[in-house]
Amino acid sequence: MSDDVERPLLRVRGLTRWYGPQVGCLDVGFDLWPGEVLGVVGESGSGKTTVLGCLSGRVVPTAGTVEFTTREGLGVDVLRLSEAERRRLARTDWGVVHQNPRDGLRMGVTAGANVGERLMALGARHYGAIREAALDWLGQVEIDTGRIDDLPETFSGGMQQRLQIARNLVTRPRLVFMDEPTGGLDVSVQARLLDLLRTLVADLGLSAIVVTHDLAVTRLLAHRLLVMRRGQVVESGLTDQVLDDPQHPYTQLLVSSVLQP
């Protein structure tokens, strides 16, 4: 396989974060390959959001390394970059989709400006081209392009979430972090968003880390799962292996606790 020469996009080793005597996450390690979607599951307090925070630079880990492969094929330790270097990577190569769209959108500017902003941060100056890209992305996330000049305030929760996704993907990031992307949405809206995410991730060949407590979401989106409990990874494997043949007592409990409609 030609894959042998490929290197992981992200190589995480020994990631640990203490909050005083409380463990946030302990000795978390994994590789994320290009085009791969990794699901991180566990109940609240299991440490999954801490891991996502450490990886995306919002939480400073106590120990560990996070090596990211740049577009030039070089490995950089994300945790040891200067603030300026890290912010440049965050703008060019990463996207973050928050559970609450208000945390990821600028509510005071129009939908079009929300999408165009990240392009401008990367140096795009041609107004027509930026507007064109915004229109294209609104279409891709199934928002009526006639709403381009409206404020996100006037959108439904599902539309705001789709707008947040457009804002993130417009710069073609290589790695997207998602924290409970379908969390606050109605079930009917969830299905649409999941289908959209699934299609976009596959078509763009994105790598993504999706934190969720919803196992059905991981079945649809993730190739591989990490199951976390009390800050540690207790089980990992292909999504269907973990869900259909769970090994760890905690995973078995999680899987058997899901209601099947």
């Binding site: 289908d195 591989r224 292909l238 269907d240 259909d244 043949d245 090994q247 078995q252 409990l253 058997s256």
Partner: protein, 230 residues
């Protein structure tokens, strides 16, 4: 050349932690092999672990002991303990699986569900759709249903979508878990036809077929999980 699939001394025990740590030993040293152009039918009674074996070969269940060697391109991959991405790659190119139940995704049309394995192989949208349509037509799924999500389909229609999805990509190895279970006589005959055609093209197949007529029509040989062929 090695067989398409070789199972060696495969052991699978389920430990039910939520039920007091009860242990279920389902596969106790299974060995068998399948050659290209063969369709091997597992002849054990229901509840004896046939589906478990198929799932272990597909890399869905994780056995404790043994090897599952699957021919993959020029090489061979041991599915037991293989890296997740290696398992996905074997499934994408070499190993197909028709389960008893279709896992449907809301909003995804039947035609796309069937075309997906081809898209994963890099076939263009147009060619994948054309090949998917051809299989759906052979299985007599009315064209007006192709653009709908199979969520609302009948059991028999879902089963045929499942068969179409499993067969469309011409994987060199196919695992078939009761592919005709909930089908009427006409649909059953059409599925049998497709399976026999695949076998004649050289596909290696291992499956369970509780229907004696179907089994006689598709299989070239019987095998059992523990012990000699029935």
């Amino acid at each position: 050349m090695s067989p398409a699939v070789t199972v060696e001394d495969l052991r699978k025990t389920f430990t039910l932690h939520t039920q007091g740590g009860q242990e279920l030993s389902v596969l106790r040293g299974v060995s068998l092999s399948v050659e290209p152009g063969e369709c091997v039918a597992l002849a054990d009674p229901s509840g004896s672990g046939k589906s478990t074996l198929l799932r272990c070969i597909y890399g869905n269940y994780r056995p404790q002991v043994g090897r599952v060697l699957v021919r993959h391109g020029e090489g061979v991959v041991d599915m037991v303990g293989a890296e997740p991405r290696a398992v996905l790659e074997v499934r994408r190119r070499s190993l197909g699986y028709v389960s008893q139940f279709l896992r449907v995704i809301p909003r995804v049309p039947a035609l796309d569900v069937v075309a997906e394995p081809l898209r994963a192989l890099g076939v263009t949208r147009q060619d994948a759709a054309a090949r998917a349509a051809a299989v759906l037509a052979r299985l007599r799924i009315p064209e007006r249903l192709w653009a709908l999500s199979p969520v609302t389909f009948s059991g028999g229609e879902q089963q045929r979508i499942n068969v179409a999805r499993g067969l469309v990509a011409d994987h060199p190895i196919l695992l078939l878990d009761e592919p005709t279970a909930s089908l009427d006589a006409d649909s059953r005959a059409r599925v049998v036809e497709l399976i026999v055609e695949a076998r004649r093209r050289g596909t290696a197949m291992l499956g369970t077929f509780h229907d004696a007529e179907v089994r006689a029509a598709v299989s070239t040989r019987l095998a059992t999980l523990h012990g000699v062929a029935a």
